[in-house]
């Protein structure tokens, strides 16, 4: 794995806009933008194969945890699950409600792969991973025999076709106040569903209705299949959360059992079941009475975009990790302590790898990098390629 600098493509901004990736220039605090044109990471085929295998192995381990928790019907308190959610988690798992996609975040030093977390409920950064970096690969000059670990687009279309018959109506929703990044992600997923032959409908989550029997759209038509780019734990907290019940006929995408994977408590469960597994970083439930020697990351169990992460070194809270934004919302549940994974910098940048699962298989990779300790909302997207 190495970081390389390449000439910027002509017209690359217009190309991003042409595919709907019009948020490529989201500003970072340092004045730079989200997409790093001209920066790429090179891998060998062997490295890619190891990353792919690691993702598939971890995904299988995660599913085993879900199966075991549901089988025992015993959900540790540190998941902070709303009581009402448990029936839905169990029902969706027992009905084998299928997942669409997810993204692992890995630390990688060229040898060791460590799972940092599983964005199993609301992963974003999809359009740039699937389409924008593929176009980059097709157009970039001076790299003979290049390839990319990326069949995300085709896999998504195939997944929709596997899930639903042609013509099935599927609604897509996100929060009206969410940023362009979220809506771009949502519209891209709608596009893949459309190409799979489904009838797609878009509405903001605020406009969903309830007619005392079904969730309905703006035409008062029942919503039977709903992709939501909106965290499960928030759905449960809100007024309509009372109507999320197994007897209400709606397929949620992602399904409710994904609540167990998108929660960082899954890292604790994995470590307990597979202590010292080479793909895992040691992780425990945060206990303020414990003495934490060495360097640790204290992570909220329910947070996104690297938010609210603190560094704890030799039991001393060193404050927010650099690059970590703060949202009060994320401090309302508990924390886990994950042993710090030291990753070598590349030209002063820390890369984090995103490995994309579509269904139960890994279909691609993306990278974000930053000068900070944590890949937060502000990090930069860099394309990747591999050579044999």
């Amino acid at each position: 794995m190495k970081r390389v600098i390449l000439p910027a493509r002509d017209d690359w901004q217009a190309q991003h806009r042409a595919i709907g990736f019009d948020y490529f220039d989201l500003a970072s605090r340092d004045g730079s933008m989200y997409w790093s044109e001209g920066v790429a990471y090179e891998f060998s085929l062997k490295e890619i194969e190891r990353l792919e295998d690691a993702s598939n192995e971890l995904h299988a381990m995660c599913l085993d945890v879900v199966a075991d928790l549901v089988k025992r019907g015993n959900y540790p308190d540190y998941f902070h699950l709303p009581r009402a959610a448990i029936a839905c988690i169990e029902d969706s798992w027992r009905k084998q409600s299928p997942m669409l996609y997810g993204r692992f975040d890995f630390a990688y030093d060229g040898q060791n792969i460590k799972m940092l977390e599983y964005n199993a409920d609301t992963p974003t950064g999809l359009l740039e991973a699937s389409v924008a970096q593929w176009h980059w690969l097709e157009q970039v000059a001076h790299i003979p025999n290049r390839n990319q670990f990326n069949s995300i687009h085709e896999a998504l279309i195939a997944r929709w076709q596997q899930l639903y018959v042609q013509g099935q109506h599927v609604h897509f929703t996100a929060c009206q106040t969410a940023g362009r990044e979220d809506w771009g992600n949502l519209e891209y997923l709608m596009d893949t569903a459309f190409q799979a032959g489904l009838n797609v409908h878009e509405l903001s989550i605020e406009n969903m209705g309830w007619d005392e029997r079904n969730f309905v759209d703006l035409a008062e038509q029942p919503i039977s299949h709903l992709f939501k780019l909106y965290p499960w734990e928030w759905l449960w907290q809100e007024e309509f959360g009372a109507f999320i019940r197994p007897d209400v006929d709606i397929d949620w995408i992602e399904p409710c059992w994904k609540m167990l994977l998108s929660n960082k408590a899954i890292l604790v469960e994995l470590w307990q079941r597979h202590p010292h597994h080479p793909l895992l970083a040691e992780t425990h439930v945060y206990d303020p009475k414990q003495n934490y020697q060495g360097k640790w990351a204290r992570k909220p169990i329910l947070s996104r975009e690297g938010a609210n992460i603190h560094i704890v070194q030799n039991n001393l809270d060193c404050g927010a990790a650099s690059g970590s934004f703060h949202f009060a919302e994320y401090d309302q549940a508990g924390y886990v302590m994950q042993r710090w994974v030291k990753t070598p910098l590349h030209d002063g940048m820390l890369p984090t790898l995103g490995l994309w699962m579509v269904g139960d298989e890994c279909h691609g990779m993306s990278l974000r990098e930053d000068v900070f300790d944590v890949i937060g909302n502000d990090a930069h997207f860099a394309a990747h390629y591999f050579v044999e």
């Binding site: 595919i19 709907g20 964005n119 609301t122 974003t124 950064g125 389409v131 593929w134 176009h135 097709e138 390839n147 990319q148 069949s151 687009h153 085709e154 996100a174 929060c175 009206q176 106040t177 969410a178 940023g179 990044e181 979220d182 809506w183 992600n185 519209e187 596009d191 459309f194 190409q195 878009e202 509405l203 903001s204 989550i205 605020e206 406009n207 969903m208 209705g209 309830w210 007619d211 005392e212 029997r213 309905v216 703006l218 035409a219 008062e220 780019l229 909106y230 965290p231 928030w234 809100e238 007024e239 309509f240 959360g241 109507f243 996104r304 975009e305 949202f327 919302e329 691609g364 909302n377």
Partner: protein
């Protein structure tokens, strides 16, 4: 890992205006005719009016009341279809209630029960 050129189909963004649940209410009418003009005759019931609806000239007037609906969505689900009020023939003050009547012929349609503001931040990760 793949060789095809990707294509994307433009899916227009069609966002409707935001709404909140609003209050659960029923319109009150001077007579059955006006109520049935706004709704469906079968959804109009005689209403035992309180003094606020009585006038000096007709202390024993029978008022009619329409179906329950949410204040920002003047529609109900009735016999499997959506019924939208077609006019505003009701008199001034609606009747508010706390709960949906389980035995009613129609059901109100409620909106705005999901969503929160985060000032444009990403909900994803």
């Amino acid at each position: 890992m793949r060789s095809k050129t990707l294509t994307l189909v433009v899916v227009p963004v069609l966002l409707a205006a935001c709404s909140n649940s609003g209050r659960l209410q029923q319109d009150v009418y001077n007579d059955q005719y006006n109520c049935s003009q706004d709704w469906d005759r079968n959804l109009c019931q005689p209403y035992n009016s309180t003094s606020s609806y009585q006038t000096a000239s007709s202390n024993y007037q029978i008022f009619y009341i329409g179906p329950q609906y949410y204040s920002n969505n003047r529609k109900v689900k009735y016999l499997g279809r959506t019924l939208t009020a077609t006019g505003s023939r009701h008199i001034h003050q609606p009747v508010f209630s706390q709960q949906v009547f389980k035995q009613a012929k129609s059901k109100p349609i409620r909106r705005g029960g999901f969503g929160r503001s985060t000032g444009g931040s990403s909900f994803g990760g």
